[in-house]
């Protein structure tokens, strides 16, 4: 599949909408000097191609002290996809990547209390058949994090095209 073409206007739209998704098409059109129809059409196409997704990011339910941890997982190589899918079902796990390197699977986990993180890593993940080793590393300080660039997985694409 060839990469979809994203032009300068698309990038300007993404830039504006990544700051605030609730700006009206009319305001965007006026700012960029294009018609409202163009704005509407571009946004629809970007959504359908899975290039952008609109989301309401909330912080409630997270204690102010919410921390990020990385859990690296070593598994039987022939079961990695299935194990990754199983880990992805865990609610505290925010991201699951299949990797080549010192782990087969890398997960990002948001937690507020240390014992909850331990339960995910050492009870739930380690108990999955085919998992041999987990290694947890806690982020004590985030120096840089661009939360507006993400991997839009199939589920979000489906939601976007349903609209």
């Amino acid at each position: 599949m060839s990469a979809p073409l994203i032009d300068a206007l698309d990038h300007q739209l993404i830039e504006i909408l990544s700051k605030d998704a609730r700006i009206s098409n009319r305001k965007i059109a006026a700012d960029l000097g294009v018609t409202e129809g163009t704005v509407r059409g571009r946004i629809k196409r970007l959504q359908q191609e899975g290039m952008i997704a609109f989301t309401a990011i909330t912080s409630f339910g997270l204690a102010n002290s919410a921390k990020l941890a990385f859990i690296g997982v070593q598994t039987d190589v022939d079961q990695v996809k299935q194990i990754a899918a199983e880990i992805a079902e865990l609610p505290m796990v925010n991201a699951v990547l299949i990797t080549m390197g010192r782990f087969n699977i890398l997960t990002f986990c948001l937690f507020s209390e240390l014992d909850k993180l331990h339960a995910v890593a050492s009870d739930q993940i380690l108990a999955i058949k085919g998992v041999h080793h987990v290694e947890t590393s806690i982020a004590v300080k985030t120096v840089k994090y661009n939360s507006r660039i993400v991997k839009i997985t199939k589920d979000e694409k489906l939601i976007a095209s349903d609209k």
Partner: protein, 159 residues
């Protein structure tokens, strides 16, 4: 008005509508929930002001031409890890940089347009940063889950 207030049922209902369609107008949300557009607008603004809510577009790595994603764990030697991470986070290829506990001192997430860019990143950029003892990469070959609608909201996320 205090910035810290309990989120109530009405707030949650509005957030649910925003999750379905972040670009729904206040009037559309108001009609669905039998509220007035002014109430919807005020509730959204109150949550945003208290850093409880952001309604944004997120864009895919591919939209920015990033085709290679990797995590790199770094061991620091002979220099404060906080200094090394500050320098590393200046590079645009680094989209996340954390100081971490454990065997390594710094954890980076790196996005590249193509594998050839690794050459320049390693030999012209990272090699200029003093204090890096070793770097161990993990190359992402598949992304199974990437959830982004719950996150601590702080100054870095403000528009």
């Amino acid at each position: 008005m205090s910035d810290d207030f309990p989120v109530d049922e009405m707030d949650l209902a509005i957030v649910e509508q925003l999750r379905i369609n972040g670009r729904a107008t206040n009037q559309q949300i108001a009609d669905k929930l039998e509220l007035t557009a002014a109430t919807v607008s005020a509730r959204i603004r109150r949550m945003e002001k208290a850093d409880k809510l952001r309604v944004v577009a997120v864009s895919d790595f591919a939209a920015h031409g990033f085709n290679v994603l990797m995590e790199v764990a770094i061991e620091v030697d002979g220099r404060a890890a906080s200094e090394v991470v500050d320098e590393l986070s200046e590079f645009p290829e680094v989209f996340a940089a954390h100081l971490v506990t454990g065997r390594y001192d710094i954890d980076l997430l790196i996005a590249l347009h193509e594998f050839d860019d690794l050459h320049d990143l390693l030999l012209s950029k990272f090699s200029q940063v003093r204090g890096i003892r070793s770097m161990v990469p993990a190359i992402a070959v598949d992304v199974i889950k990437y959830k982004f609608d719950v996150a601590p909201i702080d100054a870095r996320m403000k528009a």
